[in-house]
Symmetry: C2
Subunit: 429 residues, 2 copies
């Protein structure tokens, strides 16, 4: 029994995927039964690292998704269109789908999975989150027997590299970003990474799987790392924290889910604090399991291709065992019907780190305490930590407080005469 | 479609398994289709934390493995017999098997899997390694597309707890062991843990899955932590290492596999160096993936039950999708036919830490250098690090060398007049 796949896209991940499929020695023997029937590309003239027999490469991507001999369509184009339309056409033609495209799943997952369930085909997406780290299948197949309480991850390699470099060298954001762009760790337009959108796509996918409801991508609260600076990294360090861009999803109230992305002070002894450079890690907390963490390369052609090919093999394994007249395995399909109610950001409870520039230190500590206290914001520490010219820097870390209360207190504090400005507000894990 | 399971054993893991199955709210909805038909125990009179309807509990374990209405037998007895016989009987009667029993799989896996393949049933064992950490299914389903180079793990929680405590408090082995026994982290007879046998069972299982060959359990080189002392932990710390009991499997030569368990100096910046207390972690290295690591609670009723129940659900999911007339999914079955050739310990290449007690420091460093050099053992560092009474302590760290050469050199060195004794030899990662 052999399986024909059609590959849409032959960029970095597509090339690595083909390399694994064309060089199977020493790998799982089921790979020998996978045949690349067609590869869809924009241009046949571009030089390629892999060679295919005459006729395999084509610029007619619609031909691939309609080809009756193709069993699995592997979408590695990225972006929303034409990926979305091609996936939907392939599903309508009874193809199983493997994709690495977090954006199209996070934004059009409802439409895609509704069509897939109707057609009785799988849409697998291990490569969409965490690159080569197995996280999607473990969440679906292994961890769902638990009551999941929290999924929290470092899921964007570019920003983790930037923050790691800023921490190691006391460098500023713009300089490190420029360096990362030179090294190929950041795109020419870094917006999707540094503003947290990529991480938001990923946590939307993880939260949907972990908590069993659809997530409205546009309702996710999302804050990037552009405002993080060497000063706050250094002060966080003194207080026992590192700064990471975390994607967080947790069920803090029975009928409402928190899903958010933001820079976060992480205690140095926390497992996520030691995840550096372009590595990713996802921590899952559940009952009765406790905490498990998955760590590995969150990007790169080879690592991502490992996840893509594992999905191809999983579908092949299922088809081999059950024949082509199977029903969907409920652990691998997606049957979410409802959108989760997302907790508004003002209602989440978290700790905060906030840095004030003040004119009058002895007076201001009293003001701060009173003003926060009036809004039921209790403080863990207040430290006069440095100076900027004649202004004193005071850093406050709160206990867990409703974000709404904290923002109201801050709104009053910023009008105090003794307060020059409030340069930084960062949440604390 | 509902599935009947028969549970063999109602100890800590059995009880937690029943608790998950009997309280399904907030967990994967497929759990509602799993019915505990029979529970086999030694005594019906013992007080239990879970209650079953009249007639579910029985002391007749053979009745369970023969019951035509039972689809899946869940073996949580532990130990070799009667676990092995009951598993084989259940297989002969067409039952799928879920087990947490590393010992029976590591020693009788060949017999059990041969029978299971003949009968067309699954034998799943996620809980046998790493407690609640998903590692078996990710290795089978996600990582096998890579050429696996190395699997290395901290897979025994008891010894990791003991070593963590010894490191944190400068305490000696015997004292920490006694404390661990009091806390329930170590058994009254701690042999299987502290002598590395439990870790050897687990690396036998991981290596078989990762490298696709059967492993002869009795050929695994296995050394425990009884000889580790506060002095070496402190010197290792000064040199930038922590001491961990590692289970290692790697393909260093094309036709030969290293599988070994021993205390190891791990560089502090290595991901495994930060795994403390009773936690486990398994690091897998492959091409093109790179390194991924799985971290979590390696023991405990709830965590282990999470893995057991995930295996039950996986079988139920497959049966639901394919009906009961399926073939085995090649990614979840086990079709190893041959035993791996294991590299003799003298032929492995590794770094060594060795501590000498010497009478004459200036002279001895020359002797050591010459003697190691004569056996092609090159040295990374030689440090006169402390004193014990009138004797100087010299610590040598070698580069990667064949163990045989190193042992020959050491055999000569110990006869030198200037050497009083060689209290410690520990491998270095």
């Amino acid at each position: 029994m052999a399986f024909n796949i059609g590959l849409l896209g032959l960029g970095t991940v597509g090339t690595s995927t083909a390399e694994i499929l064309l060089d199977t020695a020493g790998r799982n023997s089921l790979l020998k039964e996978i045949n690349i029937k067609q590869v869809g590309v924009n241009s046949l003239d571009k030089p390629r690292k892999v060679e295919f027999p005459e006729g395999v490469m084509t610029t007619d991507l619609e031909e691939i998704v309609k080809d009756p001999e193709i069993d699995i369509v592997v979408e590695l184009l990225g972006g929303l269109e034409p990926a979305r339309s091609l996936i939907l056409q392939a599903i309508a033609n009874g193809k199983h789908i493997v994709t690495a495209n977090k954006a199209v799943i996070a934004r059009h997952g409802d439409e895609i999975y509704t069509a897939a369930n109707k057609a009785g085909v799988y849409v697998l997406l291990e490569a969409a989150v965490g690159g080569g780290i197995p996280i999607i299948k473990p969440l679906k197949q292994s961890l769902g027997v638990n009551r999941i309480k929290r999924v929290v991850g470092i899921v964007n390699g570019t920003t983790n590299y930037i923050l790691t470099e800023m921490s190691a060298n006391g460098a500023d954001f713009d300089d490190v970003l420029a360096e990362a762009q030179k090294l190929g760790y950041a795109e020419a337009d870094p917006t999707a990474d540094v503003d947290g959108w990529d991480a938001a796509d990923k946590i939307a996918i993880l939260a949907a799987i972990a908590f069993g409801d659809r997530i409205k991508r546009e309702d996710i609260s999302c804050e990037g790392i552009r405002k993080i600076n060497a000063t706050d990294i250094s002060y966080a360090d003194k207080l026992g924290f590192v700064i990471k861009l975390l994607a967080i999803s947790q069920q803090s109230q029975p009928d409402s889910l928190e899903v958010r992305v933001h820079p976060t002070l992480v205690p140095k002894e926390h497992p996520l604090a030691n995840i550096n450079d372009v590595y990713n890690a996802i921590l899952v907390e559940g009952e009765p399991l406790g905490q498990v963490m998955f760590f590995g390369p969150g990007a790169g052609g080879g690592a991502t291709a490992s996840a893509v090919v594992s999905d191809i093999l999983n579908i092949a394994g299922i088809l081999k065992s059950s024949g082509k007249t199977h029903k969907l395995d409920p652990l691998l399909g997606c049957s979410h019907q409802h959108y989760a109610a997302l907790t508004p950001i003002k209602d989440i409870e978290t700790r905060f780190y906030v840095r004030f520039l003040c004119k009058d230190v002895p007076g201001v500590i009293g003001y701060l305490g009173t003003c926060f206290g009036n809004h039921q914001v209790s403080l863990e520490s207040v430290v006069q930590i440095g100076f900027q010219g004649e202004l004193a820097e005071i850093v406050v870390v709160t206990h867990d407080v409703p974000e709404g209360n904290f923002r109201q207190a801050l709104g009053e504090i910023k009008h105090l005469d003794a307060i020059d400005s409030i340069p930084s507000v960062i949440r604390v894990l």
